[in-house]
């Protein structure tokens, strides 16, 4: 099997054709293609079937897609039955989605963003951005590499490999760090903006924030932060127009 490096690079564009029909499917096939090259000469019929399977419906967190790509490619080389490989793909969607989302989108990312915002507003400026990009991408690239290698090494046994890996243990830790970092950053960022405005502005901003949180509770997920902000801006402009 060769092409691991090319497959790894391609996995960074795994969502290039994200769509509601096959979701990550085509990107999955694009990532798997260099790894399946050896199969083309060894067993052209099997290769053709493997390419078809590789581009079918699939969805998961893009950072952990390498686990599924590696595992299914290994299963193809091990001559596992096509129905089993299809079942493996289906079985991996939910866990890789849930684990990846918790680890990256709800954990590592808000934790590093919170810390970077603190560095920026405490005077670190652009260094906050550089530090954030370096820290995030070290983990990002390392995880992608680990995922592909683990998938290729374990094949049909990838489920057990994921279960005993560092991922389930890391999730609660980064989750706690994310909660603390975002909590720490919010008041410090607010102080950065409110410095020139005096104490009354603190009351006004807190009032808007409480109204925003309450409207989120009242109207549910449809009242996103940006929608509330746009409604609040509109109401402020109307009030100013009436009071003029």
């Amino acid at each position: 099997m060769n092409g691991t490096g090319r497959a790894l690079l391609r996995l960074f564009a795994v969502q290039g054709t994200w769509n509601y029909e096959r979701m990550l499917g085509v990107g999955f096939g694009y990532g798997a293609e260099p790894l399946l090259q050896d199969l083309k000469t060894a067993d052209p019929v099997r290769h053709s079937e493997a390419v078809v399977r590789s581009a079918e419906f699939f969805n998961c967190n893009p950072n952990l897609a390498g686990l599924a790509v590696g595992a299914t490619v290994r299963a193809e080389y091990d001559a596992a039955p096509g129905t089993q490989i299809a079942r493996l793909r289906t079985a991996l969607c939910s866990p890789l989605g849930a684990l990846g989302d918790q680890l990256f989108w709800a954990g590592l990312l808000p934790a590093l963003v919170g810390l970077a915002l603190i560095v920026v507003v405490l005077g670190g400026g652009l260094w906050g951005i550089i530090g954030f990009l370096v820290a995030y991408n070290v983990v990002h690239v390392w995880t992608a590499t680990w995922s592909l290698r683990t998938g290729l090494a374990t094949g049909m046994g990838v489920g057990a490999a994921i279960g005993s890996s560092w991922i389930p243990r890391a999730i609660p830790r980064v989750g706690v760090a994310a909660g603390f970092a975002v909590g720490l950053a919010a008041p410090i960022v607010a102080g950065w903006y409110l410095g020139p405005f005096g104490r009354l502005s603190v009351v006004a901003v807190l009032l808007v924030a409480v109204l925003g949180l309450a409207s989120g509770r009242l109207f549910g997920p449809r009242m996103t932060g940006s929608r509330f902000a746009l409604v609040a801006v509109l109401l402020t402009l109307l009030c100013r127009l009436v009071l003029r």
Binding site: E21, V26, V51, F132, H140, V233
Partner: protein, 225 residues
């Protein structure tokens, strides 16, 4: 402030990279608003304006959890538009307008992502026979076309955002009290978004306690600065 043509072109190129980074290519997080804004500020010769706009829109971006097939705004090109509003003007009076322009562009960006996903689905449908035949070339063509579509989407969104920012700067003149009120409103709404997002992610477990601890320590740091 009207930026020179070379700066405008560099902003559109930056917006294209930022838009691609959100979903299609790399996801190195240059699409995060404070990153996109910081670099846009440097390109405009006013890094602080970029950081002010970027940190504000970052508060809103923290409300978003881009899971599964979720629909979410595109804050990267939107932050570039907000930075254009803010660059070279007193931030205390312009942040409200910059934030509003940024939020409107982010909503447009979210809509454009839905259209992109529909176009990608149509392209996949057109190639169903080739995919069913195991044609690797078809997979590659679909992938490159999808990335190209996203690049065009991102470039157009950034250009529209910059045009909108320029129009808002030129034609929307707010009196001082209204401008300050808008600034306070967008900061308050941003805080609500960030804390609301953190509360949703925290659930009811240990993470919520750590969020509360962070808020207390952060408030103390802000009070004593």
């Amino acid at each position: 402030m009207i930026a020179p043509p070379l700066v405008l072109v560099s902003l559109v190129v930056w917006g294209t990279l930022v838009g691609l980074d959100l979903v299609s290519v790399a996801q190195t997080m240059i699409a995060r608003p404070f990153v996109a804004g910081g670099i846009a500020g440097v390109l405009l010769g006013d890094p602080m304006a970029g950081l002010r706009a970027g940190v504000l829109l970052e508060l809103f971006a923290l409300d978003v959890l881009p899971v599964g097939a979720a629909r979410y705004p595109d804050y990267g090109p939107a932050t570039i538009a907000a930075t254009v509003v803010l660059a070279g003007s007193p931030w205390e009076l312009s942040l409200g307008l910059a934030g509003t322009v940024g939020l409107l562009v982010s909503v447009l960006g979210g809509w454009s992502l839905q259209q992109l996903r529909r176009l990608n689905a149509e392209a996949v449908q057109r190639h169903t026979a080739a995919l069913a035949a195991g044609d690797s070339d078809a997979i590659r063509r679909l992938q490159y076309a999808g990335i190209l579509r996203d690049a065009i989407r991102s470039a157009l969104l950034t250009a529209i955002g910059i045009a909108g920012a320029w129009a808002a700067q030129r034609w929307l003149t707010l009196d001082r009290r209204t401008a300050v009120a808008l600034t306070l409103v967008v900061v308050g709404a941003g805080l609500a978004a960030a804390v609301g997002g953190a509360l949703r992610s925290a659930g009811r477990g240990r993470r919520r306690n750590w969020l509360a601890a962070g808020l207390v320590v952060g408030a103390a740091v802000a009070a004593f600065r």
